[in-house]
Amino acid sequence: MAKTAPEASHQRRNFFYLFFILLIIWLALTSSFHWQEFSVGILLSLILSLILSKNYLKLGLPPISLKRIAFSIAFTIVLFIEIVKANLDVAYRVIHPKMPIKPGIVVIKTTLKQDIAKMILANSITLTPGTFTLDILGDTLLIHWINVQSENMDEATKIIGERFEKYLRVIFS
């Protein structure tokens, strides 16, 4: 079966990603650098990533680069800050005797193309203050918002999605 050049390089990339992720999980689970455990881990990761790397082609993971790594780290930090903010926000709304909520369902748009990028965006929105992804279709997301600030689609997109999207756009460009 002949393969085109880009497809083969995609598969090689997926193979390396999967190999390193499996190896890190193995190291975290065994928590030891003893050569016997380490070599079994390398062997298992190699076999699994050889078998499974084809299945990850449709995710369309981008090639690795310094800029992407830097943006991924920045994205993780922003996500953690937003998670803490989300918790304090919900705690405030729950404890407050009058419950200052103003719930509603709004629609936002995303410019991201890959499914994996959209999934990360939707999950990040779920974890951030007061917003929650109900459904996704193409480039449109249905969002439940506990404190609606704007019913307009473009404004809502700016308030909810933009803080993550600017990182994801660079990572998956």
Binding site: V90, F132, G138
Partner: protein, 110 residues
């Protein structure tokens, strides 16, 4: 180190408690899921990491479990929310806007 771990676990438990409190107080399914997702994510995360800090031998395993919770929690609550929307659970009276119709029209167009 023990005290630090206990403190982190304690903060996690406070967030879990607030999440439960929110599930009791908020008016409808969607708002309850909001409280449920957010507080359980950080609460479970901090509790597990705190246990990892108390027992340094478990730290890496605990971090792995915490990461797993962090990744899967939004997906499971998204599935619950989507299912309740499909089965026609309505919003509470205090809701100000509902764009579900726009979304369904868009679905029919494509």
């Amino acid at each position: 180190m023990d005290v630090f771990g206990v403190a982190i676990t304690g903060v996690g438990i406070i967030f879990l408690f607030l999440g439960n409190f929110g599930v009791l107080r908020l008016p409808d399914v969607y708002n309850r899921i909001q409280a449920g997702t957010k507080c359980t994510t950080l609460g479970a995360f901090l509790t597990i990491v705190g246990v990892g800090i108390m027992e340094p031998a478990w730290l890496w395993k605990a971090l792995l479990i915490a990461l797993f919770v962090l990744v899967t929690n939004p997906i499971s609550s998204h599935a619950i929310a989507r299912a309740s929307r499909k089965s026609g659970v309505s919003l509470c009276d205090r809701s100000v806007v509902d764009k579900t119709k726009d979304f369904e029209e868009f679905r029919e167009k494509t």
